[in-house]
Symmetry: C2
Subunit: 174 residues, 2 copies
């Protein structure tokens, strides 16, 4: 699909197609439909990022809280969204050793207990080793820094999901 096809979509089709570029937050996708037409994929991405940035801090935490744990109960229970399942699978999170799985579960709980939202990282830009390392390191951060870091990861995930749905802009628009 190219951007002119995106711009021609009804809000219903737009939300059906792009509603999960930010995990379980179709509200965001549905909101930026108001800003169409977009001159390119980058403009659509920018509209989403601007909407996120304008939310109060509680709203940013709300976005993080809509994300599943990595290698958590939703993966094992088959309850992940299609996008999350594929991303976690590619990163090897469905094939952890028993020791890795225990460590991941313990660190996820520690992270959630400390911050009140889950650890979010762009799984497609990582593998299980780097995810475990980063999770362990980020548990030491301050809450505000982690909230900002989590949102930065949300935007990376969003960019890759968008790129999977829309043809990239021509080079002169990048």
């Amino acid at each position: 699909m190219d951007i002119s096809a995106v711009n021609a979509l009804s809000y219903e089709d737009f939300v059906n197609i792009f509603g999960n570029v930010v995990e379980k937050c179709p509200l965001i996708t549905a909101a930026v439909w108001t800003s169409r037409p977009f001159i390119g994929l980058n403009a659509l991405e920018a509209a989403i990022n601007e909407f996120i940035d304008a939310l109060p801090e509680s709203g940013k935490e709300g976005i993080l809280r809509c994300h599943p744990d990595l290698a958590g109960r939703d993966l094992h229970g088959g309850a992940l969204t299609r996008e999350s399942r594929e991303e976690q699978r590619r990163a090897g999170l469905d094939a952890l050793s028993s020791a890795e799985a225990s460590r991941m579960a313990r660190l996820n709980e520690e992270y959630k207990e400390r911050f009140g939202f889950p650890f979010v990282v762009c799984a497609r830009m990582n593998d299980k080793a780097s995810i475990l390392r980063e999770l362990s390191e980020r548990c030491q951060n301050e809450r505000a820094a982690e909230r900002a870091r989590g949102i930065a990861e949300v935007k990376k995930i969003c960019r890759l999901r968008l790129q999977g749905l829309v043809l990239p802009d021509a080079p002169n628009k990048l």
Copy 2:
């Protein structure tokens, strides 16, 4: 569940239980968890309403666009959320005559074409006759007025969904 039990919920359980009090907008529920503890159901409701009111106009339109059509394809295709299905059923929207169904479909399309978001009304406070009458009348409104009206209906729906999940406050807290 009383409010002390609500306040004791992890964010995961809170979002699982209350994530659809605003239709398909768990982001909002997840955001207000930051404001706990709530002194009562009214305080929880107020936190949700304040979050909605603080959104830009595009965000309010985004909320409306997360709602299904009344007596629309999601009802007939079995794709409604549990809450919406029950509310539409109670209002008699699953048992329209052929003429009523045609009129509802035509007016829904007219409304969406005019405003760029769907007609939202609190079905539990209406029946099929009053819904059809209101839909017809509201098609004549201005866009800003309809956006505000739709959001007012979202809040009524939210209030009733919350009341179905949490015991009402004691009278001295109302």
